[in-house]
Symmetry: C2
Subunit: 428 residues, 2 copies
């Protein structure tokens, strides 16, 4: 048995596996969504994977950092001045029809009534930056006006359609974003940009099977000279090309002054003994694309020859132990007695109550060996097999996804073993 | 010192405390939002409180139940047939302007082009029910077509404005919902409705300081006879009246058949030896209103006489240990040395790394006694005070929010003590 890997087939294999194994709900729009890095309808396993990624992001960026505070802003905002800009508006259909009728009645052009409605409606956010900048002044009290500090948020944002109106796929789309907005001294903002880029690349690689597919790349916008804005992208090398998982910008203080209408005094922070308007580093990740990156990165296809000398491709989804949606499947041999079924149920409940996500494999009716192929495709970390002898000896078999080695263990030790294994994998 | 409680003032006190203590960002729309039970802009503490409620909901309804699966559906959906119904549409302003121009050019009424645009646009979801019903067929494989099972989701939903278009506050609003859609045998659906109502009431009361403010109430819609639909609401008694935190409905199979266009064969599940189209129990909670309920329920005002015989009202936010956003504040006496500051920093980091949310109180400049008043208003469970003697003896003072008793403890024991305290409170 050796490892085989074909770039061109890989995408198709990942897609089929995601749909077969309840990562992503099947839909003909899905391949396009995946390339664009936007939200799909997730099945139970995809939902759990995205949740685990978000939890790890939060724990690394917020929970363990005393200078970072989480916030929750609204998805829709009233943007006053920029009525002419292209945005996604949330519009009550009844209000729209009423505006059109009003336009007809008063004899004015419909444009006027409509313009008023549009100005009064809510625009949907396209990033989490603005919400954080708006909360800046309120959060100064939290930190005694001392730099640096950050405001973090995870949540859904909306993207304008890529195509022009009238073309085929002109639907707006949803993206789960994770954002840190970091306020720091103008003297050190450029070092902070590098610091966060290093941190973020390291974080993405920590959970990867093939870390070399993750990389960083510098970007700049604006003309040479004063207006140039520096940024860094964290990229993942998909079969169809590199895509940005995360984008970091050194924004200076322009946006902050704009949103707070230039009231310098209220914006000032302490930078050592001086008072300054901070510079803003924006760190913004696309978690839906992160889900895809880890799915592509983790799928291993291994050639295997069975008892009858036939070749198979064994597919194993080697997601990181912290990210994989199902940590353990509880299984039993065929034709098991009701006593055995009870042992399975109570082990399953013990694991679930201990916060270890577990699969009720014992409820399934196919043979254990075909079950195992399925669990490998699901990325299940361990399979516990309970058999007749368990009733007498209390011993179960524990099979590892990554080593395929089977260990014998007392049933009372399973929960602790798994809890320790997962915790250890997280702290590597 | 005795407990005082004034219903009419209570609301104002809660509101002020929420704004002062970074639960809810200050905004003149906030009081109305709170009464309507919709999302506010949350500060760091409110964000954490809502997250803790959502996590507890998820753990009680999904993680620990093998028959419940989590899903993630899109916020916007294409609703084909109901173009005339009042909905919230997500509209690209450029497409809207283009539709209006097209109407002008072709000479047809603008209504036609607009109608086409509206039909093609995405409607924003108002509940999580439809998404779960759509995933029903795909999830049958997960459970071998065996009843009962459930699909759970938490996420933002949108509400149509309460007022008519043109009136003052006609903005649509956002609500964080938590939903379980439970598929069960028609024979037992009525028992399941009662089961889930009991479970939910018990859950809300588990985290309450005053459990009697939470109650259940039966509701029905439809005429007597065939079409009557039975439901149960879980209510909280706010100062201004009772509001529903959670609504449970026994929906029968009407909606399920509707969404899947009556394809009975595909919908059938095993109920013992028979094949049936399941009945649907919908359990849907408003988590933003839950945040408000717990804030109102947890605030205690206690009369206190200080050293100079002046009366004060001490406000303590006695949120449940599992829900309270900040578990511990690390503080030190005034004029502390840099050695002491280092001890504080390293204890803080130890607690944060252990997943115990902690407040860097040692960075604040006011006196320890006024800090304590603030921590009580924030709902901080414990305050650790590190003083000069800590450097020699390793001993710190640990003050409990609920008992106000101060204990002396070795600094190396603080983390374990807190972890055990919080875990114990969760398992009561």
């Amino acid at each position: 048995a050796g490892a085989a890997f074909d770039e061109t087939d890989h995408m198709g294999t990942v897609m089929k596996l995601c749909s077969d194994r309840h990562y992503i709900a099947h839909d003909h729009h899905t391949p396009k969504r995946i390339r664009r890095g936007i939200s799909c309808v997730y099945g139970p396993l995809g939902m759990e994977l995205r949740k685990n990624i978000l939890d790890q992001w939060w724990s690394s960026m917020v929970t363990t950092r005393p200078q970072v505070f989480g916030i929750n802003t609204l998805h829709g905002f009233r943007g006053g001045s920029v009525a002419l800009e292209r945005t996604l508006k949330l519009i009550d259909t009844e209000a729209l029809h009423q505006a059109l009728r009003q336009g007809e009645m008063t004899g004015k052009s419909k444009g006027d009534a409509l313009q008023k409605l549009l100005q009064g409606s809510v625009s949907m956010r396209t990033s989490l930056l603005q919400g954080a900048l708006e909360q800046y002044i309120a959060s100064l009290e939290l930190v005694n006006r001392k730099l640096p500090f950050g405001l973090a948020e995870t949540g859904l944002c909306y993207q304008l359609p890529e195509d022009q109106p009238g073309e085929l796929d002109c639907s707006p789309s949803e993206v789960m974003q994770a954002s840190l907005v970091w306020f720091c001294s103008p003297r050190t903002s450029s070092q902070w940009l590098d610091y966060w880029a290093r941190q973020r690349l390291q974080w993405w690689r920590k959970f990867a099977l093939g870390p070399s597919s993750f990389s960083c790349s510098d970007v700049t916008v604006g003309e040479e000279g004063e207006n140039v804005k520096r940024g860094i992208k964290v990229l993942y090398q998909f079969p169809w090309g590199s895509e940005a998982l995360e984008t970091l910008w050194n924004l200076g203080n322009t946006e902050l002054l704009q949103i707070h209408m230039g009231s310098q005094a209220k914006l000032q922070c302490r930078d050592g003994k001086r008072s300054v308007v901070p510079h803003v580093i924006s760190v913004s990740g696309n978690i839906d694309r992160g889900v895809q990156a880890y799915l592509h990165n983790s799928l291993q296809e291994v050639k295997k020859v069975d008892n009858r000398q036939r070749q198979h491709m064994r597919k194993v989804l080697k997601l990181h132990p912290s990210l994989t949606p199902v940590k353990v499947a509880v299984n039993m041999g065929k034709g098991a007695t009701s006593d055995l079924r009870q042992v399975c149920e109570s082990l399953l409940q013990e694991l679930l109550d201990g916060g270890i996500s577990s699969w009720p494999g014992h409820l399934e009716s196919t043979s254990p060996s075909s079950e195992q192929l399925k669990y490998d495709e699901m990325g299940v970390l361990f399979t516990v097999v309970i058999s007749d002898s368990t009733l007498e000896s209390g011993l179960v078999q524990l099979r590892s996804r990554d080593t395929t080695i089977k260990e014998t263990m007392h049933i009372s030790e399973v929960k602790n073993f798994l809890a320790k294994y997962i915790a250890a994998a997280e702290n590597v």
